[in-house]
Structures are given as structure tokens and as C-alpha cells.
Point group: D2
Chain length 303, copies 4
């Protein structure tokens, strides 16, 4: 029997990851702001606790998967503070998409309690999490990374180690999300150009996804954008904007300009200003069509 | 034994395509502005002629692969004009990357001589052409497309039919090149961000190319940009700028704005203004690094 | 009594300029593609001719004010060609907004007939032309500039000499129009920001126009944009897009990127794609509002 | 004799404003983080205190002119808190360039102590402040605005009232600084275009500043940019970037995109990344020249 882990954050991503840990033989103490969401995991054997720090045991391991920087800071700072409860030898595996600056700040806070803070953000949507097909970027203290290796292996198809800087893995995660957003904008412009020239958006998307861009990002988003199908959201547009903002904030610390990221931010901001914050983030493509004089009736998923 | 074809344009792309046609059993009458380049093909059995139209026979098939719109117009208009020499039943298979507007104009010219003009631009670098691993986008008159099918199959790994509009296949080709240029800019910004944050460019590029973006465009350009290795050019930067210009000219006929294409045009123009026109087109990435305060000594391939 | 001049192009700008020349004592032979527009000038004493070159006399002076590069090339090339009819000692004063490349090409054509081609583009709207309050940028052959000085003085409030390059004055004209378009975009973004923050657009525009930006461009366009009043057009949006295109084409010969000009081109293209080509060119501001989620009912001028 | 006022922040702008208040007959209690800077004012009769709140008297008036949002929050929150010391009937006249969000938050804090927080940001450089030629944007509680009217009149050439929202005047200030930055970028692109086409930058700048753009912003920055003269800084480039960031943060609350502001942010970020943070903010123009392949040796002011 494996050890008992803490797990905080049972949203779309946290739930399937926690479920896979249970399946792999770990015992879990789980916490979620909305306790009701813990139901399915409790049914599978998890113990529900009522304060983030109650997920911890001295020298143990806690994983977190929460919405943003602020939520994670609340989890770590709300007294009695999580790092204090973990204490010497403890490890906090932070899987959320946050800024490297926040990660480094929290790592310092944890170090004061002799707790290792590991950045372990993931690539993959909820379905991928359920299927243990996440990719994990990992960075932080070397020995702590070794200790959590089997845990992360139980929920992913691959782990990439980016060294000891606790912010490094977050940088890679932000780079990845930036590249996806850039591909969305590029596909939207290309497919709208094809449409304006009289071609069929779907046929062009399929050809490109079968040849030059035979990878899931282009195949999946190419199809969604070609069909203007943005519901239900796989990743909410407002969260996408949050990530683009994190990219630009991180770049500002460089300092360096990222003009393509700026363009993306403006595109996503316009989408939010026009009421699209709850569609899939690829719905930013609707703005490209409108600038071309095309009014789209987005395909509904309820048909 | 197969029929005799005309082939005009023996540059980096035309040479291996023509060689594959010879290998497949076709006889070729070839023309190139610089006749000396025909040497290897003549050695393999091709007949060299001294005027574009001499490649044609009545009702026959001529393939062209030239540098740009202007070069193709010269080939088609220089008296005695190619379509006139081809005459009724003839087919011109135009493989160059040109604008759909030029393609449509030439198709009309050809139609006056009862010649079918087919757009058949290709995706793939010279190595891919040599290995018969090109992708071909095809559009134009239905019966002509059927007739050239075996010819194109002999030089490619796949043919995609975009209908009867003689400009349609060119639109798809431009969409594809635009997407590649967008990926170059996105990779350059992402890898420079990683570098400014203390990460190793190559490691980040490899991770992304093995996971989210496991396709040749991201793997190949990711490696080049991570290593700042831009020589020898696989595709010259000045030609890349030409293609981005074609994208924007085509979009203007929509009309529609393509802000990402505009950003790319500015990036490539700055590269030309700074003397990089003969590097590989991914050398546009150097501008991203410089805007971040990084002076790069581009890796030489001769080491 | 002054000499007889030729005058070609009797549009919104040409008419009041020609009228001022008549008023100043010059005799005019006028030509316009749509002859009917010459009526008022004929009533004031001008002679209407039926071919551009009939406006010319040997060694004389012809002024042109036409819509674009193509129209001017037609005027100069349609046989019998205007420069040929002007002959040695003749002067062509070209007041249209065209590219410096076209100007230089035409200057060479004229030189072959020993005719001086002068670039003399103007700043000012039709009302300014009527009030002799145009600003003229002038460039070309020195002695020719001296000879036309009193003619240009009769229709303007100031002449700026930019040397002997026949394209130079056009560059300055394009710089000026680019700066105006940039001010329109900047005002649109600023006033929309003010509105989104709960302020009154007009009050903000007035404050800025009375203090930091106490000049006609900001005062006039600030008021139009604050009130969303874009009819009747002082300068049609489609012509504005043409000028932005000329700016970018000229910059490409540098070569140099102009990212702000690219942004403007995209904004104006979106306006045309959305059916605004016949509004005043400051109606590009409507796109800024829409990206902010504001649907504007443009103020009608007919109230 | 006028009443005694508090004055906090004796930098480049605060010093001349405070001096003018003394000259107008007000008595001042002054505070500055670096006390030494108070020397000249003390020599003119001001009283130096050692804590921000000591500038206040019950029901009195305190003016602040500090570097940024954070500095102002420190001034207002450091115990004993300034609003508490001012107490019922007191007024805080906040002249710094800060975000409207911070202004509104501070206004609420002040209201809890029955103190009126007025936003009163100014337009004008130090020379203008010394010459009492500032423009003031004012917003906040009506009766408080009436009471401070003579005080503000003593240091400015004009006051513009934007209503009761304590953030409103800050929005206008940010709009103004955004328009100036936009004019800098536009001038840089235009003058570099002129230079690439063989014209003299200075002559073009002068022509435009005498005609279409006969206002101080274009005349002053036109001359600086034409001459590449960026030292000593009138307004430091790093502060300019801070203001552009405030513009974009404010727009994000709209929400609305401001693509021109994004472009400016990227331009200024590149300038900081290349070591130009202490030059005048118009030195962002150097990036335009470099993208055009021009290496500029900036004119030194020490000649």
C-alpha cells in the first residue's frame, strides 16, 4: 500500500488526477473550496478535510491544482499555513498554471519551513488527465523530484525535468500555452482567408492537419475553428486570457517584448468585451471572421 | 513508355521533381533561364530546349516551377506564347507559389487557347522533393486534373483536390506558408522568453516538439531557432517575405485584415533591412532576440 | 494677363484649385474624364478640351490632380503622350497623392522629352483648397520650381521645397497622411477608453484639443470621433486605405517595417470589409468601439 | 495670509509646484522621502516634517505628487494614516499619475475618515510647472473641488473638471500620455521613412510642425526625434513604460483591447531591454531606426 497524499483543488483537472492516484493505490486526504465536488472521490475512498492544511502530514506530500496564482497563495498562506503543517522533509507539488514569479516566491516561503516546493504544471485537457496522458513539466529541488517521481508517473505519460529553479517548469507551461494561442490565431486567419477566397474551411483545415501540421493542436483546433464550434468549452476563454497575461507579465520581467503575445491578448480581450468569456478559448477566432465582415452563427453543441 | 512532358524551371525544387519524372519513365523537354542547370537532367535523358514554348507539343502537358508571379508570366507570355503552342487539349501544370489572382488571370489566358491551367503548388523542401514526399494542392478543370493524376503521383506522397477554381490551390499553399511563418515567430518569442528566464532553449524546444507539437514544422524550426542555426538556407528569407506579401495581397482582395500576417511582414522586413535576406527564413527569429537585448552570434553550419 | 495653363483632374480638390487659378488671372485649358464636371469652370472662362494632351502647349505648364497612380499614368501615357505634347521646356506640376516610385518613373519618362516633372502634392481638404489655404510640398528640377512658384502661390498659403528628387515631395505627403491616420487611431482608442471608464468622449476630446494637442488635426478628428460623426466624408475611407497602402509600399522599398502603419492598414481594411468604404476615413474608429463591445449608431449628418 | 497646506513629494514636478504655492502666499508643511531635497523650499519658508501625516492638520488640505501608485499607497497607509490625521472636512489633492483603480480605492479609504480624495493629475514638464503653465485634470467631490480651486489656480494655466468619480481625472491623464507616446511612435516611423527615402529628417519634422501639426507635442518631439537627441531626459523612458502599462491595465478593466497601446508597450519594452531606460522616453524612436537597418549614434547633449 502506498503512502497517504494530500490533494487540494478538485476542478476539471484535479478530479481525474486525484482519481488516478487512488486507482494507483495512494490514499488521499482531499480539500476543495466547494466541498460537494469531493463526492465522487470520497466514494472511491478519499478522505475529505475542511482546511487546506489538514491535507498535510509532517514530512508528507501535498499536491495542488487550483485556478490561479491568487488561489494558490490563499492555499499556502491561510493559517495554519500549509508549509508549516508539512514541516521539514515535506513536499508541495504545485500543478497549477501560475507565474514563475509566484512560484519562486512560494518556494522561498516553503524553504523557511524546510519544505520543498516543486513546480509540476501539466499539459492536457480533462480527457487527457482521465486517460493518464498528461505531460508534466517539473522543476525544483533534486531529491524531492526523485521522491515524487512515481506519483507523477501514475498520472501522466511523460515527465520533463527543467532543473532546480522552482519557476522554470511554469515558464515552459506558459511557453506551451502561448504557442497554442498563437496557433489558434494563425488558424483563424488562415481559414478565414480561405473562406473569403471561396474555399471550404473544413477541407483546408483537414489538409493542413494531415500534412504539415499533423499534431493534435492543429488537428483539434483546426476542426473547431473550421466548424466554428466553441461549446462546451474545453478551456474557458477567460482562463486563456489569464494565461496570456501571465506570459506577458513574465516577459516584462525579462524584460522583453512579445508582439505576438500582445496581439493575442488584444484578440482575447475583444472576445471578452463581446461576451465570449465562457466559450472555448478558440472562440477568439470569431473576431477574425468579424473583422473580415463575416457574421458567424457559432455551431451549437446541443444539436 | 510514358508520354513526353515539358518542364520549365530547374531550381532547387524543379530539379528533383523533374528527375523523379524521368525515373518514373516520362520523357522530358526541359527549359531553364540558366541553361547550365539542366546538365544533370540531360545526363539522365532529358532534352534541353532554348525557349519555354519549345517544351510544349500540341495537346500535351507542360509543368512549371519558377520563382514568382513575374517569372511565370514571362514564361506564359513570351512569344510564341506557351498556351498557344500547347493548343487545344493542352495542360499547363503550374507548381510555383504564386498569387491566386495571377493564377486566375493566367487560367483565362490559357482558356482562350483551349488549354487547361492547373494550379499544383507543393509543400516540402528540396529533400522532400527528391524523396517524392511532396504534398500537392491541386485545382482547376476536372478532366485535366484526372489526366495529370499519375504524373503528380509520381513526384509526391499525396494530392489534395480543391475544386475547379484555378486560384484555389494557391490559396491553400499561401495559408500553409503563412502558418509556418507564424509558427516561426511564435517559437522565436517562446524560446527567447525561456532563455530570458534562465532556461535552455534547446531543452524547451525538444520538449514541445515531443509533446504538444509533435510535427515536422515545430520539430525542425524549433531546433533551428533554439540553436540559432540559419545556414545554409532551406528556404531563403527574401522568398519568405515574398510569400508573406502574397498572403497579404490576397487578403486585401477579400477584403480582410490579417494582423498576424502584418506582424510577420514587419518582422521579415526588419530582417531584410538588417542584411539577413540570404539566411534561412527562420532567421527572422534573430530580431526577436535583439528586441530582448540579446546579441546572437548565429551558429555557422560549417563548423 | 497671365499665361495659359493646362489643368487635368476636376474632382473635389482640382475644381477649387483651378477656380483659384482663374481668379488669379490665369487662362486654363481643362480636361476631366467626366467632362460635365468642367461646367462651373467653363462658366468662369476655362476652355474644355477632350484629350489630356490638348491641355498642353509647347514649352508650357500643365497641372494634374487625379485620383491615384494609375489615373496619372493613364494621363501621361495615353497617346499622344502628354510629355511629348509639352515638349522641351515644358513643365508638368503633379499635385496628386501618388507613390514616390511612380513619380520617379514618370519624371524619367518626361525627361526623355525634356519636360520637367515636378511633384507638388498638397495638404488640405476641399474647403482649404477653396480658401487658398493649402500647404504644398514641392520637389523636382530647380529652374522649373522657380517658374511655377507664382502659380502655386496663387492657390496655397505656403510652399515647402524638398530638393530635386521628383519623389521627395510625395514622401512628405505620405508621411503627413500617415501621421493623420495614426492620430485617428490614437484618438479612437483614447476616447473609447474614456467612455468605457464612464467619461464623456466629447469632454475629453475638447480638453485634449485645447491643451496638449491644440492643432486642427486633433481638434477636427477629435470632435468627429467623439461624436461618431462620419458623414458626409471629408476624405473617403477607401482613399485613406489607398494612401496607407502607398506608405507601406514605399517603406518596403527602404526596406523598413512600419508596424504602426501595418496596424492602421488592418484597421482600415476591417472597416472596408464591414461596408464603411464611403464614410469619412475617421470612421475606422468604429472598429475600436466594436472591439470594446460597444455598438455605435453613427451620428447622421442629415439631422 | 493664506492657510497652511501640506505638500508631499518634492521631485522634479513637486518642487516647482510647491515653490509656486509659497510664492502665492500659502504656508507649507512639506515632506519628502529624501529630506535633503526640501532644502530650497525650506529656504523659501516651508516647514519640513519627518512623517507624511505630519503635513496634515485636522480638516486641512494636503497635496501629493509622488512617483507611482505604490508610493502613494505608502503615503496614505503608513501609520498614523494620512486620512486619519486629516479627519472630517480634510482634503487630499492627489496630483500623481496613477491608475484610476488605485484612485478609487484610496478615495474609499479616505471617505471612511470623512476626507475628500481629489484626483488632480497635471500635464506639463518641470519647466511648465515652474512657469505655472500646467494643465490640471480634476475630479472628485464637488464641494472639495470648489475649496481647492484657488490653490490649483495658483500653479496652473487651466483646470478641467471631469465630475465626481475620483478616478476620472486619472483616466484623462492616461489618455493624454498615451496620445503623446503614440505621436512619438508615429513621428519615429515617419521620419525614418523620410530618411530611408533620402530626405532630411529635420526638414520634414519642421514642415509638419509648422502646418498640420502646429502644436507643442509634435514640434518638441519632432525636433528631438529628427535630431536623435534624447539626453538629458525630460521624462524618463522607464516612467513612460510605467504609464503605458497603466493605460493597458485600465483598458483591461473595461474590458477593451488597445492595439496601439500594445504596440507602444512592446516598443518601450525593447528600449528598456536594450539599456535605454534612463534616456528621454522619445528614445523609443531608436528602435524604429534599428529595425530599418540604421545604427544611430544618439546626439549627446553635452556638446
Amino acid at each position: 500500500m502506498h503512502e497517504t497524499l494530500g490533494f487540494i483543488g478538485l476542478g476539471n483537472m484535479g478530479q481525474p488526477i486525484a482519481a488516478n492516484l487512488l486507482r494507483a493505490g495512494y490514499r488521499l486526504r482531499v480539500y476543495n473550496r466547494t466541498a460537494a465536488k469531493a463526492g465522487p472521490l470520497v466514494a472511491q475512498g478519499a478522505t475529505l478535510v475542511s482546511h487546506p492544511s489538514e491535507t498535510a502530514e509532517r514530512g508528507g506530500i501535498v499536491l495542488t491544482m487550483v485556478a490561479n496564482d491568487q488561489a494558490l497563495e490563499e492555499v499556502c498562506l491561510r493559517p495554519p499555513a500549509l508549509p508549516e503543517m508539512l514541516g521539514p522533509g515535506g513536499i508541495h507539488v504545485s500543478m497549477s498554471t501560475i507565474s514563475p514569479m509566484t512560484a519562486r516566491k512560494l518556494a522561498e516561503q516553503h524553504a523557511r519551513h524546510k519544505v520543498a516546493y516543486l513546480a509540476a504544471p501539466v499539459f492536457g485537457r480533462p480527457e487527457a488527465a482521465a486517460a493518464r496522458r498528461l505531460w508534466i513539466c517539473l522543476s525544483g529541488q533534486q531529491s524531492a523530484k526523485q521522491r515524487v517521481q512515481p506519483i507523477l508517473a501514475a498520472v501522466s505519460q511523460g515527465i520533463f525535468d527543467f532543473g532546480e529553479d522552482p519557476g522554470a517548469a511554469n515558464v515552459v507551461k506558459l511557453c506551451g500555452n502561448f504557442l497554442i494561442a498563437a496557433a489558434i490565431e494563425a488558424l483563424a486567419e488562415a481559414l478565414t482567408l480561405a473562406q473569403k477566397c471561396g474555399l471550404d474551411r473544413k477541407q483546408v483545415a483537414e489538409m493542413l492537419g494531415q500534412t504539415l501540421f499533423a499534431c493534435p493542436v492543429y488537428q483539434g483546433y483546426g476542426k473547431q475553428i473550421a466548424e466554428n464550434s466553441y461549446e462546451p468549452p474545453g478551456f474557458r476563454l477567460s482562463l486563456g486570457l489569464k494565461d496570456i497575461d501571465l506570459v506577458l507579465q513574465t516577459a516584462a520581467t525579462g524584460p522583453m517584448p512579445m508582439p505576438l503575445a500582445s496581439l493575442l491578448r488584444d484578440r482575447w480581450l475583444a472576445a471578452v468585451a463581446n461576451g465570449r468569456e465562457n466559450l472555448d478559448w478558440s472562440a477568439a477566432a470569431l473576431g477574425v471572421a468579424e473583422d473580415a465582415g463575416i457574421r458567424v452563427r457559432a455551431a451549437s453543441s446541443e444539436v
